[in-house]
Symmetry: C2
Subunit: 638 residues, 2 copies
């Protein structure tokens, strides 16, 4: 075991759980917070490696990676889940509870790495995403609101790129090649023209080595100056971190002085490719390179147009320069948490950042992270995309399971957010649990294909009976990939409720692993898709729409076929159809369309319509949110 | 003089100006930065009154105002300007240079209060707004980019309100009164309905005192639940802090599941009423009250609909809760600067925040702030709007004047940004200076109407001759409102170049003042407009469009006629016509339209078309912006 000098000083924050468990915000606001400088010191960071944001948040400078370059990596634990109900099965809560158990109860050095949530849903239906009960990241207000501004910086960069694309089309439409070139390279006071720093990428792409703009041929000048973007091919979208359904379909360019209109739409900010880039970047330089590679659309000649062609990669990197530093916060029991990046788990890979994990692995013996949705989604992408880009190898998979979800998979009535649960979910029903357990085993089987041992964490709910919980455990233990299965009660107990789970995870982490990717990058796009469809989803095969066929041909021509695949699939079924619960069989996966995030570095086949902009309900949660001016506390977050 | 314990420790940062003066960013990046904790200590702040944002920025907690409630206020200096050329005359540079002179050279306790600039223009044409030469706020990268996230928080709140308005119309269009009411007040687990905290404002407005939703009459339920917003009357706009001209005219609601489309447009974020509210709020509670009063449009019955009717004032306040704390930074010579709020100077009042000034006045003997555009614009609003809401009284007006601008007013050729200056501006031309000096005197005369002494600061340019400068000084000193006129060279010298100016300001601040508003709030809207038009602009009278007449009648009916007036006028002339230079005579002011920012607390007559969304040029400055990965420095900001 590594000896981290700081860790010997770790002082857990003592919690005294109440029963019944109060509301999340009440627990969070009653919590004792260590100064973040103390959390940092305890985890082995130097004061000069921190940038404080108030008293309870800090960004960590990347220089720590240089200092610790030779330190061995800690154990790398991914928390995933079975196919969830629409209510969620407590994955973040388990991630935090397990960490609290490891750090505050077993005395292990542990760092939790999780995603920053979108601010949009905070004011809509869903509450916060900081965990729940006695397993939370605090201060939960900061976690759920602006935090350290990363999403805002991404939004700003995203929208600057959008403005740059459209304004370039506007200027190109109104000027001939010569005027355009002369404006792009204006004369200085001495009458001399220059190429700007941001123009080097495009010059290189065009093979222009001449340094003096005036010495280019007319043809070179025209090629350089006119991107000739085809408006119909622009795939870059504006973004806002608000649930604004009216922006799902809009037309821009209707001002009196514009020369073209464009139908488009907004994404919620966390769906921006820039968020996926932040999550996958391995350094600031790498982030800039990925940004430069972003493909925003095509020229009328059918060639990809990149951020680099627009000369804007440097400016976008400057806007995002602070986002690459993970934000340090803490759990209710005082263990350190790195909150960093929050890409979508369907059109993107749904994992927190590589940077945070890399820092954590150097500092702690155990790094607990979470991947989005079930093992068929976030975990597969964790392995095949994130670990492929990071080079880090996972040691243990924790598979969060609930009696409720297994009952649903066993044929229980539909579970709907906001509606009361059917009696099947409240009363003991061993038959449904048994019938539904196959879903859990299927997810464990996926992990086995990657060569990683699985610990099942049964996240206990108050209505679960001992017989139901024991049954889950018994079935789980029969599966060869599952090395242990533990009933955990961290929601109502905090880390104490997950001590057995933590012990099982420690034990599992000592097992030998045989980590392997599901497919090599050399596979064709279709081979990759079909491998995932058969091996992970259990499909009989894949059907491609004519549009998808077209894209595959195009992406292959452009060389994007060497990127990993990020399936944009529903998380509510192992299949593409959210209605198919349990372990669907005898189905084929339909590929409707295929897109690419060339900058982030993946191709994403669309298996259905993925919503990239949530809406607000008739009675949004913003009605509850306010400040109590007597106490200064925020009210109504959940 | 107040004795602030911290100030005795003030250590100026020594600068050694180079000649010729290097680029702003080179000076800024070569500068020595004190830790912001030291700047705070020197100005008399306690460590627990700071929230650090890295090493060189901190937010100041409002608790400092309670601690210093009994401290006397320092002298309150407003820096304004004559009618500028489109290039600007160095008002921020003078504000900073004067502060550096007071603090670092005269040993006076001084705090500078300035606006946070929009991030949009940083990537477009204009460079940064942190001053220039050897009179700058640093770090200039932080000042010009995200700073401490205030504009991002405003953007988020602005857009949440926009989404809430449109989504409410969507839900109301699809549901009858009963369904709407039942969804707004859903049954809890015990079958009981409740009004949410955010609903109290609307209940009060409707005179409903009943606490049990089920006991309302059907009519009350309908009135409560249906805001019945007329889409055509919605004046609230979405916002983005990017120069995105394609958003000047758009249509939203074109997604397949929407039930209405709406033509609308975006503002740049700093034009949001929320920015004006931040600038005028006198406490967090006051900010919440102003947000609640925001009028977003009208019901079909013609009644105003407010943010409070939507139940969202608390949530918007929570999103903006940290914005109310000013951000502390420093000048090149180590004096403290509070950067806070940045409202437009035409459709809003163009002044930094009341909160920052209040804190500064308690801490320092001299508070130097800046108002937007010329004395006819920002200064008039500083007095009539900002000082009216704050209750603070100004002591001195510093009127920034340049030989270049006076020549333009004297009949010199048109000055255009980006184009080379005509020889008249480069060579000595006493005739043009003399002919143009009336503009300076007219601005001084405006200050006199408010009873405040004027010190003219002639901001020296390298091409100015001694004869020209002496002439400006001589003419200025003949005016009864001008107590002194000083040639200042802080751009190339830093504070040392403004020592004489600082001495003159100190002297002027000891004079008796007779501060008075230009009009009482009891005046009708027309009386107020006409007072400003005649007394400040020198107009013969005012003409109202039929639309403006309609609005005046409506606003008078609604009681908005008791608000102060914020004229949305060009800053390039004392009149409404940017072509009329010098001291225009014999003109009448046309009022095209009138709007109201009821939450911020002013009515704004529109004297022309005010751009609320800048665009990007063919060759935007983002081409130059990048990171030097060797040094970690940001390149290309200016």
């Amino acid at each position: 075991m590594k000896l981290h000098p700081g860790l010997r000083k770790f002082i857990p924050t003592v919690i005294e759980p109440l029963s019944p468990v109060p509301a999340d915000i009440e627990i969070a606001q009653a919590a004792e917070l260590k100064p973040i400088t103390q959390v940092a010191e305890e985890m082995g960071l130097r004061p000069d490696e921190l940038e404080l944001y108030g008293e309870h948040k800090a960004k960590i400078k990347l220089s720590v990676l240089e200092r610790l370059a030779d330190a061995p990596d800690g154990k790398y634990i991914d928390v995933t889940a079975i196919t969830p109900t629409p209510l969620g099965e407590g994955k973040t809560t388990t991630t935090v509870g397990l960490s609290q158990a490891l750090g505050a109860h077993l005395g292990r050095s542990v760092i939790t790495c999780i995603r920053q949530p979108s601010q949009g849903p905070t004011f809509g239906i869903k509450g916060g995403a900081a965990g729940g009960g006695y397993s939370q990241v605090i201060p939960m207000e900061d976690f759920n609101l602006h935090m350290t501004g990363d999403i805002h910086a991404i939004t700003a960069a995203n929208n600057l790129l959008a403005a740059a694309i459209d304004t370039r089309m506007f200027h190109e439409a109104g000027q001939n090649d010569k005027a355009l070139f002369n404006r792009l390279c204006p004369k200085d006071k001495k009458g001399k023209r220059h190429f700007a720093r941001g123009m080097q990428g495009r010059l290189k792409k065009l093979g222009i080595t001449e340094k003096d703009p005036d010495l280019l041929t007319e043809e070179q000048k025209a090629k350089f100056a006119r991107l000739d973007i085809d408006p119909a091919t622009v795939t870059w979208r504006r973004a806002v971190d608000v649930n604004d359904r009216m922006l799902r379909g809009i037309t821009v360019g209707q001002g009196s002085q514009e020369n073209f209109e464009l139908p488009t739409n907004y994404y919620i900010s966390v769906a921006s490719e820039l968020m996926a880039i932040l999550a996958l970047a391995t350094s600031l330089e790498d982030m800039r390179e990925r940004i430069a590679r972003i493909v925003i659309g095509q020229s009328r000649a059918g060639e990809p147009v990149t951020a680099d062609d627009l000369g804007i990669a440097g400016a976008l990197t400057v806007l995002m320069k602070d986002t690459i530093k993970p934000t340090l916060m803490q759990t209710l029991e005082g263990t350190p948490v790195l909150v960093h990046a929050g890409p979508f788990a369907n059109i993107a890979h749904g994992n927190s950042s590589i940077m945070a994990d890399k820092i954590a692995l150097k500092l702690a013996d155990f790094v607990v992270t979470e991947s989005g949705f079930g093992a068929d989604m976030g975990m597969e992408k964790f392995f095949d995309i994130k670990c492929r880009y990071s080079g880090n190898k996972p040691d243990v998979v924790v598979l969060v399971t609930t009696v409720r979800a297994l009952k649903m998979h066993g044929g229980g009535p539909k579970v709907t957010a906001g509606a009361p649960l059917a009696p099947e979910y409240v009363d003991e029903n061993l038959g449904l649990v048994e019938k539904g357990a196959g879903n859990m085993l299927a997810h464990a089987e996926i992990a086995r294909k990657f060569g990683i041992p699985v610990v099942v964490a049964v996240n206990r709910f108050p209505t679960d009976t001992d017989a139901e919980l024991d049954l889950v455990r018994k079935i789980a233990l029969e599966h060869p990939a599952i090395v242990d299965a533990i009933i955990a009660d961290h929601f109502s107990q905090g880390g104490k409720g997950a001590v057995a789970l933590a012990e099982a995870v420690v034990k599992a982490s000592e097992l030998p692993t045989d980590f392997r990717f599901l497919y090599p990058l050399e596979y064709s796009i279709k081979e990759k898709i079909e491998t995932i469809a058969r091996e992970v989803y259990g499909a009989d095969g894949v059907d491609y729409s004519p549009l998808a066929e077209e894209r595959i041909a195009e992406y292959t021509r452009l060389g994007y076929d060497r990127l990993p695949i990020c399936m944009a699939k529903t998380h509510l079924s192992l299949s593409h159809d959210p209605e198919l619960k349990g372990v669907p069989k005898g189905f084929r996966i339909p590929i409707r369309d295929i897109s690419a995030s060339v900058g982030a570095g993946f191709v994403y086949p669309l298996l259905g319509t993925m919503s990239t902009m949530p809406g607000l309900p008739t009675r949004p949660s913003y009605y509850d949110i306010d400040i109590d001016f007597e106490t200064g506390k925020i009210l109504g977050l959940s």
